[in-house]
């Protein structure tokens, strides 16, 4: 049960954006990709979740447990994506944002319990009813990660999630992310332009 990138390459017109990439990401493993701006890192993640803009052409395959995901619509791939911005929904409280990602089968009490436990884990106990405008950047980042994990993705894509945080916050959030990934055994692709963010030697693009 691993996420496989098989000779994956993106083309913009007749121009390849990067050399073909192949990788097999096991559950709990973090596969890091580094590269300068414009080399196609974020487009690669868009291709993996199935939201590649029409201007691009995809070559190669993305597979999960041996099955190609290319024909599977984005919403059914069960892949989570964390951007550098938290992208929390402004019309809901913290609990509303988290509750939206929880599986529909949970009843009200189970949802409440899951949200409370998640917030305790993130060090944000008592934040359930807070409006997102009242959160700091670090708090938003934690809630955003928690929300993504609540949707029970089988793989996680991190698109420079630490780049907007200051140095101190960045280190603690990075550790929080890596701990949760290890604990929940999620196959993860991390895209960054800072080598310090990479838990292992990154693959350099561009």
């Amino acid at each position: 049960m691993s996420l496989v990138l098989q000779q994956l390459q993106l083309w913009l017109g007749e121009q390849p954006l990067f050399a073909p990439i192949s990788a097999e990401v096991e559950p709990g493993q973090i596969f890091s990709l580094m590269g300068p701006s414009g080399c196609g890192k974020s487009s690669l993640l868009a291709a993996v979740i199935g939201d590649l803009p029409a201007a691009f052409r995809l070559q190669g395959d993305v597979r999960w447990a041996g099955e190609s995901l290319l024909a599977v619509p984005m919403q059914h791939r069960r892949i989570g994506l964390l951007h550098q911005e938290s992208l929390l929904f402004p019309h809901w409280s913290v609990a509303g944002n988290l509750g939206f990602a929880l599986p529909a089968k949970l009843n009200k009490a189970e949802r409440k319990l899951a949200i409370e436990q998640g917030l305790i884990k993130a060090g944000l106990q008592g934040f359930a009813d807070r409006d997102i405008s009242s959160l700091s950047g670090g708090q938003k980042a934690r809630i955003s990660l928690l929300r993504t994990l609540f949707s029970q993705p089988r793989a996680l894509l991190l698109d420079e999630p630490f780049s907007k945080l200051d140095a101190e916050l960045r280190a603690s959030f990075r550790q929080f992310v890596f701990d949760l990934i290890a604990e929940q055994q999620i196959a993860t692709i991390l895209v960054t332009h800072d080598v310090q963010d990479c838990p292992s030697a990154p693959l350099r693009m561009g």
Binding site: S68, V72, P73, Q75, G80, P90, D131, S133, R147
Partner: protein, 603 residues
């Protein structure tokens, strides 16, 4: 569960027997179902084309055929020029043509240049900020109500003269002159331009959001140019081409306007549109043939005026380029800035004064000339009107509510289809151009034909036909106002919702559309106001049997009873104003604990 449903659908599509084995997770089937789903998004766009564009084109054709003598109902099955000859020989056509041409050309140019001057000289004034803030409420005032209020305010025996007499004017009796109904249509042009300035400003603000406004102003200032000069030399030359479609709409509206022309235009002879309206409603069907020719003539006139505007725009841009080459920095014109800011305040005050004067007249019992206020008050006019207004009020509410709601759902589905599938982009421009036909064609040029088609199908005079007629105008306005916010929505939020929920429906219903609630409410209010103001489409498609507040208000205005006019005008105003207030309040109340939603930053 989902896989079973997918397979069942796959079997049905391929006519495979139930026993036939299909791979449970076949990518081919998923792809097939996905492509079927994609085609479903085509439905609203195709319906849009089928129900809105095709009938307009058919209506246009059915105006062209009688204009050239083809009218089987009268036994005329040969094409001929006779209707055109009848049109030229009909009494009052030439003066009517002159009135229409002059009032439309004057009102369009006056409204556009006033709007441009406001932008150039009053951009940073508080007056323009206020006008921008209250633009939707000013726009939502129906043309007929605006004209009625203006008449009650500025007529020789109107409120303004009463307030100023006799201490300033010396008049003991109302003067005998009248500013309305002049034979050249100047009063009509003035009232039309007052009503079109907010529309053109609204379109200009929307267009300006696509221009590097702040950067241009900063750059120009750093080179020593005055703000007004930057507007004239840099911003307005870019803005004018973006205002071509609104200008075409203004010209098409002005040339074919009937309700406003009945209230403030000349009556003997009237404008060409009013004259044609009389012929169309004439019991003798023979008048339909020259009326159709006249409707086509209105179309030709609007094309002529628009071509004239294009040439003028080209000349203006050449002049501005010439001036830019000279490098004259210009100076801040204090006087122009003050005067134009005052004119923006004037427009707002005028709108408020119109509301107030209608309110006062509607409760006036005895109001002799010279008295600033009525000497006795009564509720009788409201009570009398309540009796007669029940049905028009119900019709107006029903038509405006339904057309705004149906139009909104329809337009949202089309815009979502456009975002979901790249195919729509190639069709966007031609489809949109066709959708705007009801706005850029003079209404008479196709409503004549549409009405005749409905008569043939025996569908005229029904509420459903009128509802469809309102949708013809509501949908383009909805597209015009909603497409910007919808296309600029941060799609990453939708993408997150999709990834988190695993369902398009949940992502749309719980995240994207609630986040767009404010623009939805705003355009719903505009759509409601557009429907309330519909006059010709109600009159023609309703065959005179469907009375609305607007048709009754116009009928009242030609009757001359000021108190009844005021009551009808107020009702016509009150409905869109109430809906507008409600649509401002609802999102505020729903998101009162969500500060980011109040800022409207994402939508």
């Amino acid at each position: 569960m989902r896989v079973t449903a997918v397979d069942a659908l796959g079997r049905r599509l391929f006519n495979k027997p139930p026993g036939h084995k299909l791979p449970p997770n076949s990518q081919a089937f998923r792809g097939l179902v996905s492509s079927v789903g994609r085609q479903l998004w085509l439905v609203p766009s195709l319906l849009l084309a089928l129900l809105l564009i095709v009938p307009v084109l058919a209506g246009l054709l059915w105006t062209i055929l009688p204009a050239f003598g083809y009218f089987p109902a009268l036994g005329r099955t040969q094409l001929s020029w006779q209707p055109w000859l009848d049109l030229w020989q009909a009494p009052g056509v030439w003066p009517a043509l002159q009135v229409s041409l002059l009032s439309t050309a004057l009102s369009s140019l006056l409204a556009l240049f006033w709007a441009l001057l406001l932008l150039a000289y009053a951009w940073q004034s508080r007056a323009l900020r206020w006008l921008r803030f209250s633009l939707a409420s000013v726009l939502s005032v129906p043309h007929a109500a605006f004209a009625i209020g203006l008449l009650l305010l500025l007529a020789p025996s109107g409120w303004l003269v009463r307030l100023l007499s006799p201490w300033l004017t010396g008049w003991q009796l109302p003067p005998t002159w009248s500013w309305v109904g002049d034979p050249w249509g100047l009063s009509l042009a003035w009232v039309l331009s007052l009503k079109e300035i907010p529309f053109l400003l609204f379109m200009a603000f929307s267009a300006l959001s696509r221009l590097p406004l702040d950067a241009s102003l900063r750059l120009g200032r750093s080179l020593g140019y005055s703000d007004a000069r930057i507007w004239w030399l840099i911003l307005l030359p870019q803005l004018l081409p973006m205002l071509r479609l609104p200008m075409l709409a203004v010209i098409a509206y002005g040339i074919a306007v009937v309700d406003l022309a009945i209230i403030v235009g000349p009556s003997t002879p009237p404008s060409l549109a009013v004259l044609l309206d009389r012929w169309l409603l004439h019991p003798d069907l023979h008048w339909r043939l020259p009326a159709s020719s006249g409707a086509l003539l209105l179309l030709l006139l609007s094309i002529l005026l628009f071509s004239g505007w294009l040439m003028l725009e080209k000349a203006l841009r050449a002049v501005w380029l010439c001036q830019a080459m000279r490098g004259n920095r210009g100076s801040e014109s204090w006087l122009a800035r003050r005067l134009l800011a005052a004119s923006a305040w004037g427009l707002l005050v005028l709108t408020l004064a119109i509301l107030l004067v209608m309110l006062v007249w509607s409760f006036a019992q005895r109001w002799p000339f010279e008295a600033a206020l009525p000497v006795s008050w009564t509720q009788r006019h409201w009570q009398t009107a309540a009796h007669y207004l029940a049905q028009p009020l119900w019709h107006s509410l029903l038509l405006a509510g339904l057309s705004a709601f149906i139009g909104l759902v329809w337009v949202v589905l089309c815009l979502e289809a456009e975002q979901q599938h790249g195919w729509a982009r190639a069709w966007r421009r031609p489809l949109l151009a066709l959708l705007f036909l009801p706005l850029i064609l003079p209404q008479m040029s196709f409503l004549f034909g549409v009405q005749w088609l409905l008569v043939l199908l025996d569908w005229d005079g029904q509420l459903l036909a009128v509802l469809w007629g309102h949708l013809l105008f509501v949908v383009p306005y909805l597209l015009l106002t909603l497409s910007g916010p919808y296309r600029h929505f941060d799609q990453r939020l939708y993408q997150q919702a999709l990834l988190l929920s695993g369902s398009k429906a949940r992502a749309l219903l719980w995240v994207k559309w609630p986040l767009l609630a404010r623009p939805f409410c705003y355009v719903l209010a505009i759509a409601f106001a557009v429907s309330i103001a519909q006059f010709l489409s109600t009159r023609y498609l309703g065959a005179g049997r469907i009375a609305t507040l607007t048709t009754e208000a116009v009928a009242m205005a030609s009757g001359g009873d000021r108190r009844a006019m005021a009551v009808y005008g107020l009702w016509q105003w009150a409905l869109p104003a109430l809906v507008y207030g409600l649509m401002l309040f609802l999102p505020w109340w729903c998101f009162r604990h969500r500060p980011l939603m109040q800022l409207d930053g994402r939508s």
